[in-house]
């Protein structure tokens, strides 16, 4: 199993950042390369720029710890996957830690790069209101 952890500091109160993260259906607003994100029950469906789809099970949204947990359930197969986003207070700003545990490991570097992009996207959304590059094959760049 491989563990990936990426983090970023955002110049906004933790409560404000957490409000965005905890709204699971808003992920495509700040995760570059996602064209849609919708939630039904505890299932989140992600559309990707490559025309694919990711299915995720939302495992926990812990408002007290400001921790969001999910796992990818398809269509690719993982023996183990756990994604987590934590928002910590950092002297009035926020430190966001985005982690993934995965096995098998083929997507390790892909996800690590995507998480780095996503954290920048989250920062931009919270600090400036700018949504992610939102590249959509139907609309172009």
């Amino acid at each position: 199993m491989v563990t990936i952890t990426e983090q970023i500091t955002i110049d906004a109160p933790a409560a404000d950042v957490w409000a965005v993260v905890a709204a699971a259906e808003r992920q495509a607003e700040w995760f570059p390369g996602m064209t849609s994100s919708s939630v039904e029950g505890n299932v989140r469906t992600i559309g990707t720029s490559a025309g694919g789809r990711l299915l995720e099970e939302i495992l926990d949204i812990d408002h007290e710890r400001r921790r969001f947990e999910y796992r990818i359930t398809g269509p690719m197969h993982f023996d183990h996957h756990l994604g987590s986003i934590e928002v910590h207070d950092d002297n009035g700003a926020s430190r966001v830690v985005y982690g993934q545990e995965l096995e098998p490991t083929a997507l390790t570097y892909v996800l690590a790069a995507a998480l780095r992009d996503a954290l920048v996207g989250l920062r931009d959304l919270v600090e400036t209101g700018a949504t992610s590059r939102g590249w959509d094959p139907e609309e172009g760049a």
């Binding site: 490559a50 269509p75 083929a106 997507l107 570097y109 790069a113």
Partner: protein, 519 residues
């Protein structure tokens, strides 16, 4: 007078795949004719034995350390200089058809601009060239994914979309599933009609582009066939060409198990550990396949499939050359043919590729048929035995175009004969391997070929302590069966080669570019 360059690459093709290089199975008359009319290189090495670093070297003319693509999954820098850009800036028309792999192919979020082209069906990036190519149409090893061939298959021939072998499994690992008659990994009986197969598609798309050019334009056309890289799934209609049961085993495959394994034991620990299924050092071979299970039937069938794919490439190239001839361009056309790296294809009891610096993966086919009308046209039937590298291609293109070779290119224009090679002082060619698998395994190799000797140092990594290596005398041991690294009598020679290696390689970059995928 206009100048034209047709550059052909295959993917993962062995030196002995071609008739002109002594191949006894596949019929490759078109390529053999190019060799007879031009220059054939007998010792051409890649600067890395997997696709992305090697292709970055081809298009930049740089050592791996200078272009920074140190393993598959590391994208070329967005602003990396390329020979295509040099030609484009000089007014040439530039195009690439087939496999580029300048950027990671495993890219679900389309982080890389090149991968967006296929999804959009575009042939440029918002009207602008990409890496110096004004027109790009991509194909890969199958029909799924984000490339143009896959898009075309989805739109025009969806009933055949899943005829191809699925190169990756559900976990996105290289698929270990066996098929064909022998159950060999990545072998598959593919019912797809031949005209839908990527080899013919690449030629068709190139022909369409060439047909649109004016008679007097200078152009550079890269025809980049994805085969004979695995999966080995040529159209079933073509299997009659090479009945696998009739094939002899390759000379490099020791049929006796004891002999096979003792040869592996004489090399670095990573050889035997991979063979035994005890090590996954890199992504390029199926993680769940154990080479020790490879059977003689499987070796034969994999070889037959590769030979068939090579024949299809030869015929597709023949179609393109014929059309070029019909346009009256042949006299002013330089043709260069090579591949990005080799393939074990049964040698040493192995398939695929990885951190193994032996001829199976490093000795490449390379041909240059200079334009008959040019001053280079005197190379007819020449054979160059001095070492050359794929980093010499980009400078060669510049020279053909009458342009100065940019200082950022590390290579030197290919010699047209041994006299020119001697004048250039060609003595050595270098190859590197660096890999960091997500499972934590790191392997680092550097090799030098000089004076008929092949010397590889294993730097300290997960499998090696930094004291191990390989030394082969290819004149006495062409199959690289006897490792002389620890032979005291060869120690001075080994030290001299390693000193030469260190003095010849550029320094490592201060910052290693990040891997953003594994392929």
């Amino acid at each position: 007078m206009a100048r034209r360059i047709l550059f052909i690459t295959t993917d993962q093709q062995r030196y002995d795949a071609l008739g002109c290089n002594g191949g006894q199975v596949a019929c490759t008359p078109v390529i053999d004719r190019l060799a007879a009319e031009g220059v054939r290189y007998e010792r051409a090495h890649p600067q890395n034995v997997v696709c992305m670093p090697s292709r970055a070297t081809i298009v930049t003319g740089q050592h791996v350390r200078n272009h920074g693509v140190w393993m598959n999954g590391v994208p070329m820098a967005p602003d990396a200089p390329t020979v295509a850009k040099v030609l484009l800036d000089a007014g040439w028309r530039t195009a690439l058809f087939g496999k580029a792999h300048f950027e990671p192919l495993l890219d679900p979020f389309l982080r890389h601009p090149g991968n967006r082209l296929g999804v959009l069906g575009a042939t440029d990036v918002d009207g602008a060239p990409h890496r110096g190519f004004e027109h790009l149409e991509f194909a890969g090893h199958g029909a799924v994914g984000v490339l143009h061939h896959g898009r075309w298959m989805r739109e025009e021939h969806p009933e055949h979309l899943f005829d191809f072998y699925q190169a990756l499994d559900r976990s996105l690992e290289v698929n270990a599933a066996g098929g064909g008659d022998s159950g060999a990994p990545q072998v598959h009986h593919n019912p797809v009609p031949r005209d839908l197969y990527h080899t013919d598609w690449v030629a068709d798309r190139a022909l369409a582009w060439l047909d649109g050019l004016d008679d007097e334009e200078d152009w550079f056309c890269w025809l980049s066939f994805p085969d004979p890289h695995h999966p080995w799934d040529p159209p079933t209609s073509e299997l009659h060409r090479v009945p696998w049961r009739d094939l002899d085993l390759p000379e490099g495959y020791p049929e006796d198990q004891g002999e096979r394994e003792s040869r592996l034991d004489a090399k670095g620990a990573h050889w035997r550990r991979w063979y035994d299924g005890d090590l996954v050092s890199n992504y390029e071979a199926p993680a769940h396949w154990v080479p020790a299970t490879l059977t003689t039937d499987q070796v034969r069938e994999v070889n037959a499939m590769a030979h068939i794919e090579n024949e299809l490439i030869d015929e597709a190239l023949g179609r393109v050359l014929a059309r070029i001839g019909q346009r009256g361009w042949g006299e002013d056309l330089d043709v260069l043919y090579t591949t990005d790296h080799g393939e074990f294809q049964g040698d040493h009891g192995l398939l695929f590729k990885g951190p193994y610096h032996v001829d199976s993966l490093m000795r490449l086919p390379l041909l240059w048929r200079p334009a008959p009308s040019s001053e280079n046209g005197h190379g007819r039937g020449a054979v160059v035995t001095s070492p050359v590298g794929l980093l010499d291609l980009a400078p060669t293109f510049c020279t053909i175009a009458g342009l100065d070779v940019p200082e950022w290119m590390d290579g030197v224009p290919l010699p047209r004969d041994e006299v020119e090679a001697a004048a250039q002082g060609r003595e050595r060619v270098l190859t590197e391997w660096d890999s960091a698998h997500p499972n934590g395994t790191e392997v680092h190799l550097q090799s030098i070929y000089r004076d008929g000797l092949l010397c590889t140092r294993y730097e300290e990594g997960t499998c090696h302590d930094g004291t191990e290596g390989e030394l082969f005398d290819l004149s006495e041991d062409p199959l690289q069966a006897v490792n002389l690294w620890d032979d005291p009598a060869r120690r001075p020679l080994r030290d001299d080669l390693l000193t030469d290696l260190d003095e010849s390689l550029p320094p490592r970059p201060a910052v290693r570019r990040r891997a953003e995928s594994v392929v």
